[in-house]
Symmetry: C2
Subunit: 350 residues, 2 copies
């Protein structure tokens, strides 16, 4: 079955390709009612579907959105096994398809820019997650397409940003622990890079500590990577060598999972011996045993909003959008934080 083209339709309907194009694009003031009907009839019969490549050429818009997520260290695989990204993409895809756009998912090779892909494919817009070298963003600005950054603190009005107040989130989490009566609070975190999400959460942690007039002890921050493995190692260390630490803020749920496992391995109990609070509220958080108390952000919603933004930016270029959009955050109490004091505002959750 050879693919039907606009010419085939035109011929079969006894009209010009222009006429077909008109009805296709809803320019109903340019064609008669009968023509419209006849053409539509033929389109149905021939199962004609327009070719986006051809359309892209002449209209200079591809209806394609690039979505970039970080890769593993060897740059050979996406970090899609981090449920956080999966959930976001899930949100993005739905919104995009709903609006007639398609999504090209990719990582970007070490040192390479995203220019190639965006130019090759004539991307109408892009959504980026992760942190990249400065040059990467500079390159991106040259192609003049709407770009939405998720969880980025790049301060450049060229980009729109969707995120959360990570500093506040870190503060919230730590304060929650403090309100539960904990005083020696550990922090397990990924690499703290300046102006990064991780640093903000760290800053929030420090603020809460200081606000409570506690002593900020650098020995209590376990910094490495945002991974289950690091959480595991840190959890073991805390349970083994830091009996004074009674609560831990892990700056991602995945890290919290690792921490809990590490703590338990050394025979200690969560939350009875050590409380743990996470960050993100990924899908697995409620499934974990024990269910994880965490700082919830609506991940899927984040994806949806990112998609909405690119689309709006594309279709209504003049619209003035806020440079940054922050989604709400809140503590979800489950069962990994235990109140030490009677006065604590926090219970064991349900």
């Amino acid at each position: 079955m050879k693919k039907a083209t606009i010419k085939d339709v035109a011929k079969a309907a006894g009209v010009s390709t222009a006429a077909v194009s008109y009805v296709l694009n809803g320019k109903h003031d340019k064609v008669s009612k009968e023509t419209i009907e006849r053409v539509n009839q033929v389109i149905g019969d021939l199962n004609y579907i327009p070719d986006f490549s051809a359309r892209s050429l002449v209209k200079n818009q591809s209806k394609l959105i690039g979505v970039v997520i970080p890769q593993t260290e060897n740059y050979r695989q996406l970090i899609l096994e981090n449920p956080f990204y999966s959930e976001i993409i899930s949100g993005i895809e739905g919104k995009l398809r709903e609006n007639g756009y398609h999504l090209i998912l990719s990582g970007v090779n070490r040192g390479e820019s995203y220019l190639d892909l965006s130019i090759q494919r004539n991307l109408d817009g892009a959504i980026l997650m992760g942190i990249y070298p400065e040059q990467f963003y500079e390159d991106l600005k040259r192609i003049k397409i709407p770009i939405v950054l998720i969880d980025s603190y790049i301060n450049d009005s060229y980009f729109r940003r969707i995120g959360i107040d990570d500093e506040y989130g870190g503060y919230l989490a730590t304060r929650h622990l403090i309100q539960a009566g904990h005083t020696n609070i550990g922090l397990i975190t990924g690499a703290i890079r300046k102006e990064g999400v991780v640093e903000k959460r760290f800053l929030g942690y420090k603020r809460a500590i200081r606000e409570a007039n506690f002593f900020y002890n650098p020995d209590y921050v376990f910094e490495d990577s945002m991974s289950f493995e690091h959480g595991l190692a840190a959890g073991r260390e805390i349970a083994g060598k830091h009996p004074e630490i009674t609560a831990v803020f892990a700056s991602a749920d995945l890290v919290a999972f690792g921490a809990i496992k590490g703590i338990m391995e050394l025979g200690k109990k969560v939350p009875d011996d050590i409380s743990v609070i996470g960050f993100d509220d990924i899908y697995m958080a409620k499934m974990f045993v024990p269910p994880l108390t965490t700082v919830k952000q609506d991940i899927t919603e984040k994806g949806i909003m990112a998609a909405e933004q690119v689309i709006r930016l594309i279709e209504n270029a003049e619209v003035e959008l806020a440079e940054e959009m922050l989604l709400p955050l809140r503590i979800v109490e489950r069962q990994t934080v235990k109140a030490l004091t009677e006065t604590g505002a926090v219970g064991r959750g349900s």
Copy 2:
């Protein structure tokens, strides 16, 4: 910065567009060494990158692969929160990009076919996960592009299939439980549709039961959906109303997680009171507490192989590939299965 076209390059290099095209496509027998150098020079200077849309038009190949994954029941979102799909896609993307292809990720709306997208985008090939109505596959065959089905039992030589021997997997899991000395073994499973993955695992379960000369008790199979929630409900029911059941085979890790949680909620212990074995070995399996004993399949590898197959099929149309490829399966012993007997070949794992 206006995007450079082949014409710009030709003009700047003082040659024809044909010459540029030649060097672009490596037709080095058609151009002189100097021309090649000069053109490449200019390409670099102008930062020229070919437009795939235009190329797609003339070459009739898009370097685009469609990847389809199932959606939630309301058809508004991908089931990407199931880590299983994330991991597969991760594998697919890496392989694809490595070979110069890009990936369009999408779900497909209820009742719709995938024809539209594949025709619109001139897809070179597609990789499908999930089960669809018969008509869906019939439609697909009309577009004559290589299609790889992941975990499908559609028996049609048009499609290539990548999968595992699910029946054997179900058998393996159940036999593992039996060898550990269990006799009353429950099955928690998704909807058993004929010729589906789930049914095969169920069949394997039955085979192992029969082989051991146990009584197959339909009351021990808890069938609903392949979800954490179903696992949870079934786990509760087993722990609450079926004291005779000492082991459970959950036909997906996610389901096993739910089951374990449900069992624990009723005050029973895993594996001391009830053993649980899962299926898939998703990334989270080792992170769970307790770490899940499960039937391991190499999920990422599955994605990689699927990508390899489409590519091979596309680039070497005559190649005769096996219609179906099965990946190996094996039990990964962790800590959710307990041996009841001295003679059991199975310990508590490490």
